[in-house]
Amino acid sequence: MRFPTRFGVALTPSASPPPELLRPARASYIALTVLLAAILNLLALPELITRVKPDFIALILIYWTIFHPDRVSFTIVWTLGLLMDVASGSLFGQHALAYTLMLYLAALFHRRIIMFPMPYQVFHVGTILLLAQLVTLALRSVAGSDFPGPTYFLPSLLGAALWPLVTALLRAPLRQSPEQDAT
C-alpha cells in the first residue's frame, strides 16, 4: 500500500477530513436509492442527453460497495445488470459483466478509497467507470460493432464529476441530528 505517497502529497488518513458519524444505512434505504437510480437511467430523454448521461446505477453501486461493502452482493448487482441490458437493448449480459467488474474493483480498493480526500476519490471512481466501459467496448468490438466515437467515454467522465454530489446526496439522510445525540 505505497500508492498514496506517489502523489507527493501526504495522503495519510489525517490528510482527509475526519469521517462524519453516519447512521448505518438500512437495506430499505439502499433499495430506494437503487430504484431512484434505475428511474434516472430509464428516463426517456432526447437523443443527445441519452448518449452522454452517466450510468446512475453504476455510481450508486460503487458508492454502496465502497462505504457498505457488506450490503452489496454480486447476485444483486448482476441481476441489475441484466435488467439494464434489456432496458438499453444491448447484448444480454453486457451490463451484468460491467457491473460485476465495478463491484469487484470497488470492493478490492474500498479501504483505500475511503481514506482519500474527494479529488482522489473522483479519480479512482472515474478509473473504475472507464475500465468497465473499456471492457464493454472490447466486447462489442469482438461482436462486430464500430467504435462510436470519443463521446463514448463521456458518461464515465460525467459520472466521475458527479461523484461529490452523489456522495453528498446519499449521506444527507444518514446524518445524525443533534437531538438524537442527546438521548
Binding site: P19, L22, A38, I39, L42, L43, A44, L45, E47, T50, R51, K53, F67, H68, P69, D70, F74, W78, G81, L82, L83, V86, A87, S88, G89, S90, L91, F92, G93, Q94, A96, L97, T100, L101, L103, Y104, A107, L108, R111, I114, L139, R140, A143, S145, D146, P148, Y152
Partner: protein, 301 residues
C-alpha cells in the same frame, strides 16, 4: 467507517472467486445471446417485469410535452392549420386520380394475368424512447404482440421508411432504424429503376449504397425507394436521397453516400406496415422470379 475485524472463520467463497464466477456467467450469457440468439424468451420475460418501471419513467417526458403543447401560440396554430389545409387540397387532388388509376391498374393486371399487388395493413404507433446503447441505432414503439406485430415488419413515418421491427415484446417492440450499422434494405433508384442494397453505417443522418459498379446510373439527388424484392419491405417506400457519388476507377464499386429522407430520430408518430404476405418460396414461379431478382441485384444493368 466499516472496518470490520478480519473474520476468523471465512464464510463462502472469496471475492476473487465470486468475481470470476459472475464474469463467466455474464460471458456465457453474452455468447448465447450475441452468437446464437438463444435468450429471446428470457429477454421477453425480463422486459415484462421492467414494463411498469418503464411506463413510470415515460411520465416526465410526456408531461413536459403536454406542458409545452399548452403554450403554443395562436400564430403557430394558424400557420400549421394553413399548411395542413394546403396539403389536404393537394392530397385530395392526387387521391381523386388515384382511385381511377387503381381501377385501371387492377383491370390491366387482370388482363395480363399478373398477381395482384398485396394489400397493406397499417398499424399506427408511437416512438417511446431510443435505446441508449451507443453501438446501435434502435428505438422502442408502443405496440407489440398484443397488436399482432411480428419481427420483420417495416416501420414508416409520414415521409418514408425509418426501420424494421426486430424484436417484439408483449406491449412494445424494438425497431432497428435504417441508420443502424449494416442494416440492409433492398432499394431501387426511382429515376433509373436500378436495383441495389442500401446499408446503414451506424451514423445518424447517413446511409450508404454499396456494391454499385463505377458505371452505375446514379446521380446526386436521386431518390431511392424500396424495391420489395426481399418480401420484407413493401415496394415503393421512399428511403433515402443520394448526396454524393464518388467514382474511382481504382475500385470495383462506386462510393455512394446518401441521407435518409426522414429525420429518423425526429419521428414520433409512425406506422407499422403489414403486408400480410406469405414468403414467396412455395410456387415455382415465385422462386424463379426471386432468383432473377437476385441475379439482377448482383449485376445491375
Amino acid at each position: 467507517m466499516n472496518h470490520s475485524a478480519p473474520q476468523f472463520f471465512k464464510r463462502g467463497p472469496t471475492l476473487h472467486t465470486r468475481f470470476v464466477f459472475f464474469c463467466l456467467a455474464s460471458l456465457i450469457l453474452i455468447i448465447a445471446d450475441g452468437r446464437f440468439h438463444y435468450l429471446e424468451v428470457m429477454r421477453k420475460s425480463v422486459s415484462v417485469a421492467l414494463y411498469p418501471l418503464q411506463r413510470l419513467t415515460d411520465i416526465p417526458g410526456w408531461a413536459m410535452q403536454r406542458a409545452l403543447g399548452f403554450f403554443v401560440t395562436q400564430a403557430q396554430l394558424r400557420h400549421e392549420n394553413e399548411f395542413l389545409r394546403q396539403q389536404n387540397l393537394a392530397n385530395s387532388a392526387s387521391l381523386q386520380t388515384m382511385g381511377a388509376l387503381e381501377g385501371e391498374n387492377k383491370h390491366l393486371r387482370a388482363l395480363l394475368t399478373l398477381r395482384e399487388k398485396l394489400t397493406r395493413k397499417t398499424i399506427p404507433a408511437e416512438i417511446q424512447r431510443l435505446y441508449p446503447d451507443p453501438f446501435t441505432r434502435r428505438a422502442a414503439i408502443d405496440r407489440g404482440l398484443q397488436d399482432g406485430l411480428r419481427p420483420g415488419l417495416a416501420v414508416v413515418d409520414a415521409i418514408g421508411l425509418i426501420g424494421q421491427i426486430t424484436r417484439v415484446y408483449p406491449w412494445q417492440s424494438e425497431v432497428t432504424l435504417i441508420t443502424d450499422k449494416d442494416q440492409a434494405i433492398p432499394i431501387q433508384v426511382q429515376r433509373s429503376a436500378l436495383r441495389g442494397v442500401l446499408f446503414g453505417i451506424g451514423d445518424d443522418g447517413a446511409v450508404e449504397l454499396r456494391y454499385m459498379p463505377v458505371s452505375a446510373d446514379v446521380q446526386n439527388g436521386d431518390v431511392l425507394v424500396t424495391s420489395g424484392i426481399d418480401g420484407t419491405y413493401p415496394s415503393g417506400l421512399p428511403v433515402a436521397k443520394v448526396t454524393n457519388v464518388e467514382r474511382n476507377a481504382a475500385y470495383a464499386f462506386a462510393r455512394i453516400s446518401c441521407v435518409p429522407l426522414t429525420g429518423v430520430l425526429g419521428a414520433i408518430q409512425v406506422m407499422v406496415v403489414d403486408t400480410d404476405e406469405k414468403p414467396r418460396v412455395n410456387t415455382s414461379s415465385g422462386q424463379s422470379q426471386s432468383a432473377e431478382d437476385s441475379k439482377s441485384l448482383q449485376t445491375p444493368r
